[in-house]
Amino acid sequence: MAEAAIRISKEKKSIFMDTVKEILPDKGNLNLCLTCGLCSSGCPATGLENMDPRKFLRMAALGLDDEITMHPWVWLCTMCERCLYACPMKINIPRLVYEARKLWPREKRPKGILGSCDMALRNMSCSAMGTPEEDFRFVVNDLLEEVRANQPGWENLQAPIDKQGAHFFLSQNSREPVTEPEEMVPLWKILHLAGADWTYSCTGWGGENYCMFLADDENWKKIAETTLQAARDLECRYYLNTECGHATYSVWMGQKRYGIKADDIEIVPIVRYYAKWIREGKLKVSSDWNKDRKIIFTTQDPCQQIRKSFGDPLADDLRFVIKSCVGEENFVDVYPNKSNNYCCGGGGGFLQSGYTEQRLKYGKMKFDQVMATRAKYVAVPCHNCHAQIHELSGHFEGEFHVIHLWTLIALSLGVLAENERAYLGPDLQEVNLPN
């Protein structure tokens, strides 16, 4: 590999890394690299496009801006922060990657991400699928009526929209209302049984934020601001998202990063409440259905919700919820786990960026990690993780299933209807059906 010699010019010129240092607290410690390789040794993107985090930082540090600009690797790094989590010099390589994404002209950035960002900007819904506010209202109400009519015992089920003064504001990932509306119902049932006072909103109902992945600061901020403002307008106390890692993170981080005013509202992960409600006895989940079946479950820690934001306490809640539903002995954890878990490769816009081959290669590590547990099911509270791991299972023939937490909780509560079991395998289609 006879790459050209690097010529350092005599003249002082400003380099890309210097501009990144200027905008980061402690300059992101970008100068501090010991070139120890620890980041790369823990990174699933190492080797993709002949690049790794250490190398990328080194190129930036040596001012090889021409070679960094438009380098595809910036779309293969999911900015999962596993490097930063362990870096002995606390170097913010993920942020360097984020800024390097900006070196691509906006229109040349991956179409999938760009399209989803632009779609969300078409109206005030914030939906990456562009579904307007009123369409959302229609889908929710239509479905709600159907459940009330067809599912005995759920005649009083609620799915409030724009309910002023509700305790919880819930933003909804677009995938469900647009492509699989019945997937929304288990969560409604859970909220109902927990006695939660909650509401959707028409404005800013969509939880996703592909502008974040696009490294489009202006529009990341705009979307976060719109959805958060909708919650504040309804005078809600807590901002929740359906189980979507990046959506939760984009609002949580967007609020901090852009200084969006939100003194009166707290952005919280929904898993924390699942755990709380189970502990308080509001959700009377039972693992009896799995006592004899002994079906093994494992989980994935969504980077956006665990390592990057709420940390090990939330990871512990996640495990508590799953164990409560499947039985302690039927949960086998992946290793490493919690804040040190591997990114699955679905985040950072990877799923939408078009680099499929690289994404599956990246995900092989996650696949092997799941296979080592011998689990039949991965319960994961994140849409991108869900989609990626689901695809990994199929691609590498893992024959394990990937499910949302709401599916598992509703199953263990005995309230999961037949048509709400799309992601369950044949073994669980008949189990614990409501009477």
Binding site: A5, K10, L32, T46, K55, Y335
Partner: protein
């Protein structure tokens, strides 16, 4: 003022540092209170298996010192004790000490172990790092001093539930005392030395290492115990989960060190690279060569004396793999207990390897407890919690009269701690020199039992040495055999014959059995003979009625694979020793007077510091300097690593030295000759044309070092290529040159770590980094490059390296196999080409100036002085001290000491500490009016001598000379004080007229005859 001074010193902490300080002071006329918080002294060194770089058995070299402390008349040992408060001022302190109850009467305890045998409560054994269990009543380790049991109140069933007292029931000595109470002592001392040591970093808080979750991930300290014969697995190298012998072990460096995250420390712990190499080498020895060892590291920091050579040996000869990569996470490889380590190679390849065990090379840190001690004493600590020491007074704390040594003053290894310990004792001794010998008592021995004409009655003590001997040799059968030998009337075996309680047993057996010769069959006389001689002397025997049978170093260690043959050989060696012992005779001590003056050769910082301390201690000191002015290399140095101004310091030091009434400075002076021996040297010095003789009792060698002149990188061919301080000078003299410059580069290891000079010059990384920082401070946009091989900013110097990176200095690692290329770039610059270690691509760097960190060499003339004094130098030309670990400033030649660069390259504060240590050791000698010297010397039988003079010709020490005897011509005469007992004269004598005391021909012949069992009875034959 001096009236109020108190001639005693408190030493806080009973590790190797505190022990050395206590011994130095107690031997220099001061009463020492040694305070240790645990039940026994020994500290961390007592739990190490081997010590680098020589791989000496740690306990074996420490144990004699433990015993010496335990037996010393002027050391008052307070165990289970803690300092509560300190009042007063330098020279006159009042210290409150709290002694916790041991619940065992130490005057009654005979350390039989019955109590522990019967104690029903098992708890984690902290000495074995929790890898095994001990009883609630215990001794920390078999060689502990004092060897007295202690009841661990926190775990004792009686203290928990109010009943049990099993130990009390079974104690044959009635030593258990549950009524003991805490005691408070108020002690008056003139000075305090703080030596609390360090704690190992605890990696359990970091999930990535899996420590505490994956049983085969162990800390380096745990691994020491696993390797140790007295450890949890009795020295068998097995892993904790299933006791399987590992085939593959990985070491991960920098655990808790060089890591600025909140749960770690930014500094380098300084010792881990070397101990990891040592552990890998020792593990390979244990495993018999099949073991695969891999050390994952960032920079290999083998900067100490002999370290680089050990690294090279490990890498090139022993096959230890060195992998330059820091690992993110250790994962279980499967459910077998194996571990998976994923890492990137230097060229970016991701590799996954499976290991049986992973050792975490944990760093050193200061615990809350030690920090609290510092607060109680009122001494300041830095942000890393290390004691703040003076820039040029490396053992002085922020409080006058309170000194510090060891790892509490910054991460360091054993030799450095021992040096500082001696330096601290020198500082205390200088403060209290006016009250020396006011509180001490002399050691006295019982009068000697006459043995001349008595029938030999030999006692034999066979040592197990833990499993060092006992694991291979069948010790009980050897003991049985010894008992059957002629003249042997008593034989015993002991786990550790060197332990304090065994000394008492030996004395007791001498008395009971009327022994008049003693044989110890054990490790080696090299380290342990003095101890046993002292022991029998205390029992009233002449110390030369002792004989050593070396059944470890020369038997069990070299015949590990043949236990039966080793057992036979042990018997042979003891039979030979017994044959010789039967013929041993009492030897009268040889006393010589000591001239109390000192001579220091070399007027650099080391020499001046040594001279000043000796002068402050009241000794007349001659300081010889070859140059016209004092100062040496320090005249060219700007600042110490932590920013202290060297110029100002050297100026002050010169002034103090030149004006001191006890110092005579002879500058522009060379040594022409040195004659004499310990206590009585005569040196001829030459100043210009004038020669002069100086009488002195001791010599300190501080002859310094110099930077080598490179013949590469265009040095000498381009004015833009410089070395060491030359670049700094240039920019200071001509600031416009810096103004115009756009790029400056440094190249490290120029001449060092290469075949001609295979050692690391130790100070160059720090010097270049500091220089780079200064340049960046003056001109932030200047491009600064440092081309290095391993960045060796050891200890807290790591912060400088971090700062330099933060400021934008670019560090590029080059390989010795592909050195940077330097060429002229037109008229006004240089072009440097080097391969980048991360990208693997050539970088072409335009630079206005290049500065080279060249190797540090000994000064010219060092060899000649070594020859005059008959002291050894090593392969690299530096002086070779008596023992690299525990006698870092002594030579095996008595009365000669060493400090500074002539010993090895070192930074200024280390040179000062070593100088003070050398002064402490020198003072310990000069304060004596007379000293005993080894009386194993040659004796001439004048009746047989024919005056041929062959002996005089053959003696290298001028210790035997011809004298005129009226009427007989010439006869040989002994000068015993000069005699080294080498025996050359005896071998040369054609008349067999010369014999060596203690190695008389008849004794040696007897031993040889006994060695060949077929031979006739040697005793009868000799008679």
């Amino acid at each position: 003022m001096s009236k109020d001074k108190i001639g005693s010193v408190m030493v806080v902490g009973g590790g190797i540092g505190g022990i050395q300080s206590a011994l130095d002071l107690a031997n220099a006329g001061f009463l020492v209170h040694l305070v240790e918080k645990s039940p026994a002294i020994g500290g961390i060194m007592s739990a190490l298996d081997k010590t680098f770089p020589t791989n000496d058995c740690s306990m074996c070299i420490l144990s004699p010192k433990l015993v010496e402390v335990g037996m010393h008349k002027n050391i008052h040992l307070l165990t289970l004790s803690e300092v509560e408060s300190l009042e007063g001022e330098a020279g006159n302190f009042k210290v409150t000490v709290r002694e916790h109850p041991r619940y065992i009467d130490v005057t009654k305890c005979i350390a039989c172990g019955k109590c522990a045998e019967k104690c029903p409560r098992k708890v984690e054994d902290e000495y074995n790092q929790g890898l095994s269990r001990r009883k609630a009543v215990h001794v920390p380790y078999p060689q502990a001093v004092p060897l007295k049991y202690a009841i661990d109140k926190d775990h004792c069933i009686y203290f928990e539930k109010g009943k049990c007292r099993a130990c009390e029931k079974f104690c044959p000595a009635d030593a258990i005392d549950f009524d003991q109470k805490e005691k408070i002592y108020m002690l008056e001392v003139g000075s305090v030395i703080v030596a609390p040591g360090f704690r190992c970093y605890n990696p359990s808080g970091t999930d990535r290492y899996g420590y505490g979750r994956l049983p085969n991930v162990v800390t380096s300290m745990e691994f020491e115990r696993i390797l140790s014969a007295s450890g949890p697995f009795e020295g068998h190298l097995v892993r904790p989960s299933d006791h399987k012998k590992p085939d593959k072990i990985a070491w991960l460096q920098c655990i808790g060190s060089r890591d600025i995250r909140e749960d770690s420390h930014g500094y380098c712990s300084g010792v881990c690279c070397m101990y990891a190499i040592k552990e890998a080498l020792v593990a390979k020895e244990h495993a018999g060569g099949k073991l695969d060892t891999a050390i994952f590291f960032m920079d290999m920091r083998t900067h100490g004396k002999g370290f680089e050579q050990t690294y090279n040996r490990a890498k090139d000869k022993e096959g230890v793999r060195f992998i330059r990569s820091r690992v993110h996470t250790i994962e279980p490889a499967s459910d077998t207990g194996d571990l998976s380590v994923m890492y990137v190679t230097e060229d970016g390849q991701m590799i996954t390897e499976t290991f049986d065990m992973v050792v975490l090379s944990v760093g050193l840190e200061i615990s809350d407890e030690i920090k609290a001690l510092a607060d109680k004493l009122g001494i300041e600590t830095d942000s890393d919690r290390f004691a703040l020491a003076g820039g040029f007074a490396p053992v002085a704390t922020s409080k006058p009269g309170v000194y510090v040594c060891g790892a509490f003053a910054g991460p360091k290894d054993i030799p450095q701690s021992v040096m500082e310990a001696s330096a601290a004792s020198a500082a205390a001794a200088a403060l209290l020199s006016s009250v020396r010998n006011t509180l001490t008592t002399e050691k006295t021995y019982p009068s000697e039992i006459p043995v001349l004409g008595e029938k030999p009655r030999i006692g034999v003590f066979v040592c197990h040495c833990g499993t060092n001997i006992g694991g291979i040799v069948d010790v009980p059968s050897v003991k049985e055999y010894a008992a059957t030998l002629p003249n042997v009337v008593f034989a015993a075996d002991n786990l550790f014959t060197c332990s304090q309680d065994t000394q008492e047993i030996i004395r007791q057996k001498i008395r009971e059995n009327h022994l008049n010769r003693v044989i110890v069959a054990a490790c080696t006389p090299r380290t342990h003979e003095p101890l046993f001689r002292e022991t029998i002397q205390e029992a009233g025997l002449n110390p030369y009625l002792f004989e050593f049978a070396n059944i470890r170093d020369q038997n069990s260690w070299v015949h590990q694979q043949e236990p039966e043959a080793a057992t036979r050989k042990a018997k042979d060696l003891i039979r030979m020793a017994a044959a010789k012992a039967s013929l041993l005779e009492a030897i009268e001590p040889l006393k010589i007077e000591v001239n109390p003056n000192a001579l220091v050769i070399g007027g650099g910082v080391a020499g001046m510091s040594a001279a000043l301390n000796l002068a402050d201690q009241g000794f007349k000191t001659f300081l010889i300097e070859r140059e016209s002015q004092l100062g040496g290399n320090a005249l060219h140095i700007r600042q110490t690593w932590n920013g202290h101004n060297v110029g100002a310091f050297v100026g002050e030091l010169k002034k103090s030295v030149e004006s001191h009434k006890n110092i005579e400075v002879l500058s522009g002076t060379e040594i022409a000759a040195i004659d004499g021996f310990v206590g009585n040297f005569t040196s001829t010095v030459q100043t210009g044309d004038v020669r002069r003789e100086i009488q002195h009792g001791a010599v300190i060698l501080a002859t310094g070092g110099r930077a080598s002149e490179p013949d590469e990188y265009l040095y000498g061919k381009s004015s833009r290529v410089m070395k060491w301080h030359e670049l700094d000078y240039l920019f200071e003299k001509e600031p416009d040159k810096l103004e115009k410059a756009t790029g400056v580069a440094f190249i490290q290891c120029v001449g060092s770590r290469e075949p001609d000079h295979p050692y690391c010059s130790k100070v160059c990384c720090t010097a270049s980094v500091q220089s780079a920082i200064r340049l960046k401070e003056k001109k932030p946009y200047l491009r600064v490059y440092i081309l290095y091989r391993d960045m060796r900013t050891f200890g807290q110097r790591e912060e400088l390296y971090r700062k330099a990176r933060e400021m934008g200095v670019i560090f590029i690692r080059y390989s010795v196999n592909e050195k940077p290329m330097v060429e002229k770039d037109g008229e006004d610059g240089l072009l440097i080409t080097v391969r980048d270690h991360v990208l693997g691509r050539q970088i072409r760097i335009p630079a206005d100036y290049l500065n080279l960190a060249t190797a540090i060499l000994p000064t010219e003339g060092q060899k000649q002085i070594a020859q005059m004094l008959k002291v050894p130098i090593n392969d690299e030309g530096f002086y070779l001290e008596a023992h690299i670990k525990l006698r870092p400033v002594d030579f095996s030649t008595d009365g000669v000491f060493v400090c500074g660069l002539c010993h090895y390259p070192k930074p200024i504060e280390e040179a000062i500490a070593q100088a003070q240590a050398a002064a402490a050791r020198t003072a310990g000698l000069l304060m004596k009016k007379t000293i005993d010297i080894e009386p194993i010397v040659s004796v001439v039988d004048e009746k047989k001598c024919i005056g041929c003079g062959l002996c005089e010709l053959s003696c290298s020490f001028s210790a035997i000379r011809l004298k005129k005897v009226v009427g007989k011509g010439y006869r040989a005469e002994n000068y015993s004080a000069l005699c080294k007992g080498c025996g050359v004269c005896a071998a040369a004598c054609p008349q067999h007229a010369i014999d060596m005391k203690h190695f008389r021909e008849v004794q040696i012949r007897a031993a040889i005859h006994a060695g060949c069992t077929e031979c006739a009875d040697p005793v009868r034959e000799a008679a």
